[in-house]
Symmetry: C2
Subunit: 368 residues, 2 copies
């Protein structure tokens, strides 16, 4: 088993390298002052330092549940399991479905694919189109696997957003075969124009919905969650507590305190959306200007811009050259089950500033 390309890159590159690689939020957008206030408020209570329950503190689970309910997806705290980042949510599910077959998008999130491999799930890839997976291919696979992992909002890596029609088709297929949907939603709040309804909202008994504060607030608290049917949450809890007893209590108490002021959080979310939208547009514009041979679509949200040079360029070979010139991205082949080199690239546009975006694209262009 090899390490993730992205994690290796993140650890290997120096400060000067312009990184379009990781899914790193912008440092400048962390609400450090508000988090500091929340932190200081909870610090005097020694309870925050003690062992706590494995499923997560009540206050935080209630706040997360309320957000679902407010969006028309009835949820209580008993439907929520707090996890050590969304990554652990995925790991818990992979352990739960160990050795099973699973239908995934291609390309897909490489962290999830690594977890599936580690837990011996057999992945079947279905081609991702501009508005979601190819539906007939999806049903052909799903009727056998009865288990799927999808990222319907601003997908990682492709930035694809599922159309309303395809969301409904997926719902029907999951229901028809009484299977399970794992819906990964780390980017759903990062929409530029509008939020689409979760597919899981129509499949409350047949879904695991994954959320995270890593992309909307800060990654280093390592707090994500799974939303599922109460009985399913109970089964997952056994795995969760075996892995780390519980997620950081300090992180949970600070978050619960910060989230009390929902308006503040909403305002923060809006500021990220505005910032990321401006960056996505700038990134796209610079690509068209500097490197028009790279074909791509403007994302509708999230953190990534995806596209291709076509079949004549091997972006996996190219990135080695780019690294020498101190710029890095993730080559598209990393997001496929069989990592055959291709001309695709995933760019993260959230972590760099405008100047770095322009400079980075020029450096890549010079490597072609």
């Amino acid at each position: 088993m090899k390490r993730s390309f992205i994690r290796e890159i993140l650890e290997a590159i120096d400060e000067e390298t312009i990184s379009f690689a990781g899914g790193l939020p912008s440092l400048n957008l962390f609400p450090t002052q508000d988090l500091k206030e929340a932190t200081i408020k909870v610090l005097d209570n020694p309870k925050i330092y003690q062992y706590t329950v494995s499923n997560g503190i009540n206050e935080l689970r209630e706040q997360i549940a309320k957000r679902y309910s407010d969006e028309g997806f009835p949820t209580t705290k008993d439907n929520i399991l707090i996890t050590t980042g969304s990554q652990q949510a995925m790991y818990i599910l992979a352990k739960f479905f160990e050795n099973k077959d699973i239908t995934i998008e291609e390309p897909s999130y490489l962290g999830a694919m690594n977890i599936f491999r580690l837990n011996k799930l057999k992945m079947q890839g279905v081609k991702l189109e501009n508005d979601g997976v190819n539906i007939s291919e999806f049903e052909k696979s799903f009727k056998n696997t009865k288990l799927t992992y999808l990222i319907p909002d601003f997908q990682n890596p492709s930035a694809t957003t599922y159309s309303q029609e395809k969301r409904e088709e997926i719902t029907k297929i999951v229901e028809k075969h009484d299977g399970i949907l794992i819906e990964d939603s780390p980017y759903s709040e990062l929409f530029f124009d509008k939020k689409m309804p979760y597919i899981s909202a129509k499949l409350p008994k047949n879904s695991f919905h994954l959320g995270s504060f890593s992309k909307t607030l800060v990654p280093s608290y390592r707090i994500g969650w799974i939303r599922a049917d109460e009985e399913k949450i109970k089964s997952l809890l056994i795995i969760k507590e075996s892995i780390d007893l519980h997620s950081s209590g300090v992180s949970q108490y600070i978050l619960a305190e910060y989230l009390k002021d929902t308006q503040k959080y909403e305002k923060h979310l809006q500021s990220i959306r505005d910032d990321y939208k401006a960056k996505a547009e700038y990134f796209s514009k610079q690509l068209k200007l500097i490197m028009p041979e790279f074909k791509h679509q403007l994302p509708k949200g999230g953190m990534f811009l995806y596209g291709t040079f076509g079949d004549n360029i091997d972006t996996f070979a190219l990135v080695q050259e780019c690294l020498k010139k101190k710029v890095v991205y993730v080559p598209g082949n990393q997001f496929y089950i069989d990592k055959v080199p291709n001309g695709e690239i995933r760019f993260n546009y959230t972590h760099s500033n405008f100047e770095q975006i322009e400079k980075g694209i020029k450096l890549i262009k010079s490597c072609l």
Copy 2:
């Protein structure tokens, strides 16, 4: 797979119940003021909120390494992998040794046994005596398994501390069969009189040494670590990053800041040792006074006092009665591979105050 008895109890009991069950540190001993100072110092740096490296931040790994080196066990930061509590350290190792046979003490830590079951390790129990495992039984098992999990200092649950002789015997056997020792040391710093040398110090290439800040400082940061040969750390890193990318960055930065003042930490450790020693002695004294039929030895450190009523009392049945009277402990059968009821009990003495200790023992006595 069932949930851990302790985790279930922890979540089910109310505030009024006197708990001798979990391995909970005393709330009053958390150095909240010093942790607050360290927290406020790091809070203004937005870097603490970003994704960080999977193996743990340099500053913290260096500080942990230095403590080993100072005790005569040469260690660098590259020998350290930061984990989400010692529990995750165990999980990572269980995943690494999936499906293998493993020699364990009986009784042993039930959290570890649950993790081993979840990852299909086949456990072979070796009887624990007053000064460590029975050596001939141990070698008989280890020559086949070549893998063992031991808690040589103030063992959980039995409070057993390995003699110097048995430490040396274990070293010889592990070397002779070129096997692996997993040495779990969450309680080693909680000695009442003296610290024994780690067995791993003589087996730097054949050991994984597990440590944690949960018992010495606060549990809710969820920071533990594995100390091992550099090559082994690299292998474990792949599993670690699949499980949760990295442990809480905020926790790591706060801890690294707090630990800069080593004298402060040493003073804190000494205050815990003093407090726990007084409580252990009081607990033992009260047991002799109130419930002399419970035979036990005074612990030399750690958090637990272990003993037995003999074969006439089933402590698993008894605890159901005790729960009604609002007192709880962990029945000894939970710590065996086959959970056959017996007359043994593990008492945690660190979480309760003197009044609760006396009252709790009287309540148990009334259930006999």
